[in-house]
């Protein structure tokens, strides 16, 4: 089919491009400007004397520690989710009996539990466990709430493995552990990277669990740090914007190098 240029659609797309690009332009340009310039001339004005002082100002605060905390949480959450979700999906796809079917239904139901709805009892549980205001208080619930979608995505990619391969290994007398490590893991790579990225994004961008389950400066994550900055910085908008950009920097780097994986990770349930 020949492609006549569709001018109407192109025009609409350009409008949307403007809606996306203008705020991002303001975000970047303002972060490069001295504070006085932003306040005097307003957000949409050309940059005259660009400066990195806003970034160094933010990095002089406790912000690097927030970044470090968020990194630790993200790695721990991804680790826990992979270690737990892979065997679950394996049992659901290859296991027999009602327990495995029940497991799949359990996680389907779990998909529907909004984290807001259980935050009050979670607060009680985390307190009882003596974990309040530790990084674990954020890691454990975040990992738990990433499990249902991870299990769904992994069961999807494990079902794509052909039955002949499983049968061939069974004839060779391989036990379930051997099948898991020699067959299932290598053939589930794309599913694994999808859920790793999806889970990492959830952990990196998480807001509610850290807001409720931590309080001190030493356990603060970047999203909460930014929220704190609003009241701390007041009118120092360029510094605030520098903080916003710094908080997104790791994701931006992943986007540049692994766009496809990141996009499928972002899709999560939509990709199924």
């Amino acid at each position: 089919m020949k492609h006549r240029p569709n001018f109407g659609a192109g025009f609409g797309a350009l409008i949307w491009f403007g809606i996306v690009a203008v705020p991002i332009y303001v975000l970047i340009s303002a972060s490069l400007r001295p504070q006085a310039g932003y306040l005097a001339k307003g957000p949409i004005s050309p940059i005259t004397s660009p400066t990195l002082s806003n970034f160094s100002h933010v990095l002089d605060t406790d912000f690097p520690r927030y970044l470090l905390n968020t990194f630790v949480i993200t790695f721990a959450v991804v680790g826990i989710v992979l270690v737990l979700a892979l065997p679950i999906a394996y049992a659901v796809v290859r296991g027999t009996g009602w327990m495995n079917r029940g497991t799949f239904r359990l996680f389907l139901l779990g998909l529907a539990i909004p984290s807001q709805a259980v935050i009050i009892p979670l607060f009680l549980i985390i307190n009882q466990m003596g974990l309040y205001d530790t990084l674990w208080a954020v890691i454990l619930p975040t990992a738990a709430f990433a499990l249902p979608l991870s299990v769904l995505i992994l069961t999807g990619s494990m079902r794509d493995i052909s039955l002949e391969l499983y049968e061939a290994m069974a004839i060779d007398g391989a036990n379930s552990i051997r099948v898991f490590f020699r067959l299932v893991l290598p053939l589930t790579q794309s599913g694994i990277s999808t859920i790793a990225v999806f889970t990492a994004l959830q952990a990196w961008n998480g807001f509610l669990f850290p807001l409720i389950l931590t309080q001190s400066d030493s356990t603060r994550v970047v999203t909460l740090g930014l929220y704190q900055f609003i009241s701390q910085y007041g009118a120092n908008i360029p510094a605030l914007f520098a903080g916003v950009l710094l908080s997104a920097m790791p994701i931006l780097v992943v986007y540049l190098f692994a766009r496809r994986t990141l996009v499928s990770g972002l899709m999560g349930v939509g990709g199924k």
Partner: protein
């Protein structure tokens, strides 16, 4: 035995049970208690529920939640559908532009909302810069409908790219022969769009809309950061009301009762989701294995 036993799933099931299902039962119990967050909850029967029935803020928050939800769907669904179909086209310029469209997805909800809070700032924001030209003071966040519109705007900016991805993926899987056949029959672009594209995207619409409903029902970060429920309590949503009752007024039992209402709404919606979206079918193929 080459097949895994149920033991493989056990650690994950226990872990998920502890942090998701135990709290789900716990929130129902806590809604029957009085608890300030310190010490232990004490059972008070249905007192929270009786008080809730007379709370005009609950009704108001439910209405605001509903308005935000419907407003967001009306804004997001058509734009995401059109953009998704557009981005699914094979042209090179579309691929380049759509990679920029997805940039809002890279910012966290908190970062996005903080950015918009400053962009909409009554004194230093974009409206303020142009307000003098258009008349008016540019103080969107200071009025009820302005604040609601701002929440819909920020949510749309943040989530339209995600829904665009859903539609793009679905539109790519429509067979090109259907369009060729339509073109031979003399159907124009608009006709093909409504006769082929829209019906073929039915499943994507269901998925996307259900996710919008659940997202709208549980919208919290943006309300807290952008409006703080204000002006006054004009933009208090159900999750925000729960948060402020539980963690600002330290009335955990009362907040739990609101949380139970949220759970019931979300469960009802997700049952519809399982019915409509074909997740149920996935279970049955698995049973046949």
């Amino acid at each position: 035995m080459s097949r895994p036993s149920a033991l493989w799933a056990l650690p994950g099931v226990v872990f998920f049970g502890l942090f998701a299902f135990v709290p789900l039962v716990g929130v129902v119990y806590l809604s029957l208690t009085g608890w300030t967050g310190i010490g232990s909850p004490n059972f008070i029967g249905f007192a929270n529920w009786v008080a809730l029935a007379h709370d005009h803020l609950l009704v108001q928050s439910a209405i605001v939640t509903f308005i935000l939800l419907v407003g967001s769907i009306l804004v997001q669904a058509p734009i995401a559908l059109l953009l998704g179909v557009w981005a699914a086209g094979p042209q090179r310029n579309r691929a380049v532009l759509s990679s920029i469209f997805f940039v809002p997805l890279l910012l966290s909800g908190a970062a996005t909302t903080i950015m918009w809070r400053q962009l909409l700032d009554p004194n230093f924001g974009i409206p303020a810069q142009f307000a003098s030209l258009l008349g008016g003071n540019g103080n969107f966040l200071g009025t009820r409908w302005g604040a609601i519109a701002s929440l819909i705007l920020v949510g749309s900016w943040q989530f339209i790219p995600f829904h665009t991805l859903i539609y793009q993926g679905a539109a790519r899987s429509i067979s090109p022969t259907m369009y060729q056949a339509a073109a031979i029959d003399g159907a124009g672009r608009v006709r093909s769009f409504f006769a082929i594209t829209v019906p073929q995207l039915r499943n994507a619409m269901v998925t996307s809309t259900v996710l919008m409903v659940i997202g709208g029902l549980t919208a919290f970060d943006s309300v807290l950061i952008l409006t703080g429920g204000g002006p006054g309590t004009d933009t208090s949503t159900l999750p925000y009301l729960m948060y402020s009752d539980a963690f600002k007024s330290y009335n955990m039992g009362y907040g739990s009762a609101i949380a139970v209402i949220l759970v019931i709404l979300a469960t009802a919606i997700s049952i519809i989701m399982v019915k409509l979206s074909g997740y149920g079918k996935m279970t049955s193929t698995q049973e046949g294995l």
